[in-house]
């Protein structure tokens, strides 16, 4: 038997069929299962549904998929160590949702001229140009959402810029408008906004550059 951790919530929040461990101002929701969840999409989406259900009842800090502890004593030790930080982050995300903005400009890698392979120098120059373009795109997008988003996190993506935005519930359309306006300024930009999601990217305070996340291999 293991404890599969799902989310951190306030003690007054409904457990939504999960078990719970209360520790001061926070409560950890978990499931007792025979074994750790298998790393399969159905298991990941199942956690997603659980977290979404929990998020309807109040602030939530989702726990990363696949996080398992041995027993209640281990969980109590965790909650004791992390209670203060979780309490603070629950305050921050309370009343907020996460939106993810995807932005891309012209093709990331310019095609080589004449159909023949570019020289090494040309290739490096093109890569440098792409890098500069990505930096400008990222900075522009961050400026575009700063009036709406309480916090942002840069997420890694392939051939695009991805920015997670923590916005007040009800301000989703405001974010979309801000992104659309920014997009309209340059017709070669492409943008897409997904969400609202629970605050997956905002369970920790921002550190360093704020870069976070994994590259999506699709």
């Amino acid at each position: 038997m293991v404890l599969v951790l799902c989310a951190v919530v306030r003690p007054e929040a409904p457990a939504e069929g999960l078990e719970r461990l209360d520790r001061g101002a926070v409560s950890v929701l978990y499931e007792s299962r025979d074994r750790a969840p298998r790393p399969e999409q159905v298991e990941v989406l199942r956690l997603g549904e659980v977290v979404q259900r929990v998020a309807r009842n109040g602030p939530v800090l989702p726990v990363r998929f696949g996080t398992v502890v041995e027993d209640l004593a281990a969980l109590e030790a965790l909650a004791r160590d992390r209670e203060v930080g979780w309490d603070h982050r629950l305050d921050v995300v309370s009343g907020h949702v996460e939106m993810v903005v995807h932005a891309a400009g012209p093709p990331s890698v310019p095609p080589s001229s004449g159909g023949s392979p570019a020289s090494g120098r040309d290739y490096l120059m093109a890569r440098a140009a792409v890098r500069r373009h990505d930096v400008e795109l990222r900075a522009g997008l961050a400026r575009a959402v700063q009036e709406v988003a309480r916090e942002t996190r840069e997420l890694r993506g392939r051939d695009e810029v991805r920015l997670a935005c923590l916005v007040p519930s009800g301000a989703e359309d405001g974010l979309r408008r801000a992104v659309q306006q920014w997009c309209d300024e340059r017709p070669d930009r492409e943008v897409l906004v997904t969400g609202p999601w629970p605050p997956f990217s905002f369970t920790e305070s921002a550190t360093g550059s704020g870069a976070e996340g994994r590259e999506v291999l699709v």
Binding site: E49, V51, L61, G66, L75, L78, W86, L192
Partner: protein, 71 residues
């Protein structure tokens, strides 16, 4: 291209959801944590997720509508 005109919203939303479940969230480290699933396997499986996207779109709807670009 505008936010509304993009037609791949549901696929992207699904990837975002899975990506955040795996790559986001509270991270626990220390001896008391037994394991964190081998998420690389899930990422490899994403290619398979997106191929039959119509079969899993219901999961996306359950988790919240794509904010833009969705149909």
């Amino acid at each position: 291209m505008s936010v509304e005109r993009r037609m791949v919203g549901e696929d992207v939303a699904l990837v975002d959801l899975i990506d955040r479940l795996i790559g986001g969230g509270v991270v626990l480290t220390g001896d008391v944590v037994l394991s964190v699933a081998d998420v690389d396997l899930v990422y490899l499986g994403l290619r398979l997720v997106l191929a039959p996207a119509h079969e899993v779109n219901e999961s996306v709807r359950l988790s919240g509508r794509p904010a833009a670009g969705g149909r």
